[in-house]
C-alpha cells in the first residue's frame, strides 16, 4: 500500500471520526438559540448555561456521580475475578469470567430491558442505585479486559520469587501484583467511567423518568426543544474524555494497555 494510500485512509478515518464533533462544536458557538452550522457568530454563552442552568447541571452531576460509583463497582468485580482466574485454578471461576465478559456480547437494548425487568421485580424501579448497579455490572467487561491483559504480561516467576522469600497470598498481591496492574486498573476505571457517563439506554430504562442523567436529558431536548446547550455539553464531555485518555496515555503505556506486547 503506497504511502499516499495510507495517508488517505488515515485522513478519511480521522475526518470521519472528527466531523460530527466539528459540527457540534460549531453549533455550540451560536449566539442565538438556533442550531446553525457554520455558526452565525461566536459565543460561549451556552457553555456558561451548561454550568448555571440547573436543568442542565443537575443531570450532569447525576451522571458524574453514577459514573464514579458504577466504575468503582465494575472495578470491584473485575479485580478479584481477574486475579483469581490468573492465580488460582478454580473451576467455576471461568464461568464467572464468562459472565463478566458476556454483557458486552449482548445487544445493549436487551441489557437495558433486563435491568428494567430486574428492578421492577425487586421493586426498586426508578431509584438511583438501580442504574449504578446495572451500569456497574454492564461495564465490568472493560476493567476485566484491561486487567486480564495486564496480568497476562506479568511474569509469574515474580510471584514465585516472592514466595521463596516468604511472602504469602496477601503480601504477594499487595507488593507484587497490585503495583504492576495499577495502570491497567486505572485504564479500566477510566473506560468504565467514561462509558457510564455517556450511556443512554440503560439509564433511560431504569431511571429515565426519575433521576435524569445527562444523555437522557439531551435526548429529551432533542425531541422537545432544541438548544445549543446540548452541543456545548457534548463538546465538554468529549473534551473530558480526551483529557482522561490522554492522561492515561501519559501516565501509562497506552498501546500496551490496549493489548500491544512488550517490545517497542
Amino acid at each position: 500500500m503506497s504511502r499516499w494510500l495510507r495517508r488517505a485512509l488515515f485522513a478519511l478515518v480521522v475526518v470521519y471520526l472528527l466531523a460530527p464533533l466539528v459540527v457540534v462544536a460549531g453549533v455550540s458557538l451560536n449566539p442565538r438559540q438556533v442550531l446553525f452550522f457554520p455558526p452565525e457568530g461566536v459565543s460561549l454563552r451556552w457553555f456558561g448555561t451548561a454550568f448555571t442552568d440547573p436543568g442542565w447541571y443537575r443531570p450532569a452531576i447525576n451522571s458524574l456521580l453514577v459514573a464514579t460509583f458504577a466504575a468503582l463497582i465494575a472495578v470491584s468485580i473485575a479485580l478479584p475475578l481477574s486475579y483469581v482466574v490468573w492465580r488460582y485454578r478454580v473451576g467455576y471461576a471461568r464461568v464467572v469470567m464468562a459472565m463478566g465478559l458476556a454483557p458486552f456480547a449482548l445487544p445493549p437494548v436487551i441489557t437495558a430491558l433486563g435491568a428494567l425487568a430486574l428492578w421492577i421485580v425487586l421493586q426498586s424501579y426508578g431509584r438511583p442505585h438501580t442504574v449504578v448497579l446495572s451500569h456497574g455490572a454492564f461495564l465490568t467487561t472493560l476493567p476485566l479486559a484491561t486487567l486480564t491483559v495486564g496480568l497476562q504480561n506479568l511474569n509469574p516467576q515474580l510471584v514465585e520469587a516472592a514466595r521463596t522469600m516468604g511472602a504469602t497470598g496477601g503480601t504477594v498481591f499487595r507488593t507484587i501484583v497490585f503495583p504492576y496492574v495499577r495502570p491497567y486498573l486505572l485504564a479500566g476505571f477510566v473506560f468504565a467511567f467514561v462509558l457510564s457517563l455517556n450511556e443512554y439506554i440503560i439509564a433511560y430504562m431504569t431511571v429515565g423518568f426519575t433521576f435524569e442523567t445527562l444523555p437522557v436529558k439531551i435526548f429529551a431536548s432533542l425531541r422537545y426543544g432544541y438548544s445549543p446547550v446540548m452541543a456545548a455539553i457534548s463538546v465538554l464531555f468529549f473534551a473530558v474524555a480526551v483529557a482522561l485518555f490522554a492522561l492515561v496515555g501519559r501516565v501509562g503505556d497506552l498501546p500496551r494497555l490496549l493489548g500491544a506486547d512488550e517490545r517497542a
Partner: protein, 305 residues
C-alpha cells in the same frame, strides 16, 4: 521474535497450583453474587417475562401465555427483524472494510506515533449515542450539513436533507462501530510479527499481495470475532435508528423500547428481546465460524521482473 515457539512453560501461577485454601472462594464471592444477580437473573426474568400476561393496571402478571411470542413472530415483527439484521450486517461490513486496513497500518507505525490516534479513537468510543445521533442529524441536515459544503464546491445543485433516512442510519452505525472495531483488532495486529510481511516482500510480493496472502490469513479469527462484536453492538442500538431513521429503518430495539416504555407492554417487549437475542447469537456464531474456515486461495497475477 514471535515465531510459533513455546512460550515460558508456566504462563500463569494457576498452571502450577497446589492447595489454595479458602482464598479463591472468598475473593470470588462478590463477583459471583453481583454478576449472577445483575446479569444472569435479568436474562432469566426476560426469558420468563415473555410468557407472562400483560395487564392494564400495572406491569404484568405471572402466567403462561404464548400470545406475546405469537405476536413477536408475526409478519410485521419478522420484517423488522430482517431489516435489523440486514442493516447491522451492512454496517459491520463497511466498518470492517475501514477498520482492518486502518488498524493494520496504525500498528506498523512507531508506538509513540500511534498514541494520538488511539486517544481519538477512545474518545470517539465514549461519545454518547445520543450525541452521535444529534451530530449526524446536523451533519446531514439541509441547513447546516455536508450538502451545503458540496453545493459550495459545485458538486451539487441544491442542499438536501439526508436525515432521517437509510444513509444517515448507516453512517452513524459505522461511526459508533469503528472505534470499537479498531480497539478490538488492535491487540492482534500489534502483535503481528513485522517480519512476516517483510519476508513476503523479499520474495517479490507487493505490499498489497503480502497483506492479502500473509497478514489476512493470520488475523482472520480476530477479524471474525470483531465482526461478531460489531454486529451485536449495532444490532442492539436504539437511539440511532430511532432518531436518524424513518419508520422503515426502525429496528428491533426501537420497537422493543417502544413496547416496554411507551406502550407499557413488558411481556411483548421481553419476547421481542428473546427473539432478537436468539437471532443475533446465531448470526454472530455464523460470523465467527466463517473465521475458522479455510481462507479461499487468492489467485495472484504473475509478477514480471
Amino acid at each position: 521474535m514471535s515465531a510459533p515457539t513455546a512460550g515460558p512453560a508456566i504462563s500463569s501461577p494457576a498452571d502450577a497450583r497446589s492447595g489454595d485454601g479458602p482464598w479463591p472462594h472468598v475473593l470470588l464471592a462478590w463477583p459471583t453474587v453481583a454478576l449472577t444477580l445483575l446479569f444472569l437473573v435479568p436474562l432469566g426474568i426476560i426469558a420468563a417475562l415473555g410468557f407472562f400476561r400483560r395487564i392494564q393496571a400495572g406491569f404484568f402478571e405471572v402466567a403462561f401465555v404464548t400470545d406475546n411470542y405469537a405476536r413477536a413472530l408475526d409478519a410485521f415483527h419478522l420484517e423488522r427483524l430482517a431489516v435489523s439484521v440486514v442493516l447491522a450486517l451492512a454496517a459491520t461490513l463497511v466498518t470492517l472494510l475501514l477498520a482492518v486496513p486502518f488498524t493494520f497500518l496504525l500498528t506498523r507505525r512507531p508506538r509513540a506515533r500511534q498514541v494520538p490516534y488511539l486517544v481519538l479513537v477512545l474518545a470517539s468510543l465514549s461519545l454518547s449515542e445520543v450525541i452521535v445521533a444529534f451530530a449526524w442529524s446536523l451533519l446531514l441536515s439541509r441547513t447546516s450539513g455536508v450538502s451545503n459544503l458540496l453545493v459550495a464546491l459545485g458538486l451539487m445543485e441544491r442542499a438536501a436533507s439526508w436525515s432521517p433516512g437509510l444513509p444517515a442510519v448507516l453512517l452513524a452505525y459505522v461511526f459508533i462501530a469503528l472505534p470499537l472495531a479498531i480497539l478490538s483488532l488492535y491487540p492482534t495486529f500489534s502483535r503481528l510479527d513485522q517480519e512476516l510481511p517483510e519476508a513476503a516482500g523479499t520474495m517479490g510480493a507487493t505490499p498489497l499481495a503480502g497483506f492479502l496472502t500473509v497478514v489476512l490469513p493470520l488475523v482472520r479469527r480476530a477479524v471474525a470475532a470483531t465482526g461478531a462484536l460489531v454486529f451485536i453492538f449495532v444490532l442492539g442500538a436504539y437511539v440511532i435508528p430511532q432518531t436518524l431513521g424513518r419508520p422503515a429503518q426502525w429496528t428491533m430495539p426501537v420497537h422493543i423500547t417502544d413496547q416496554a416504555i411507551m406502550k407499557n407492554h413488558l411481556p411483548l417487549a421481553a419476547s421481542l428481546a428473546i427473539v432478537l437475542l436468539v437471532v443475533s447469537s446465531l448470526v454472530a456464531i455464523a460470523i465467527v465460524a466463517l473465521g475458522q474456515g479455510r481462507w479461499p486461495r487468492l489467485a495472484l497475477p504473475g509478477r514480471a521482473r
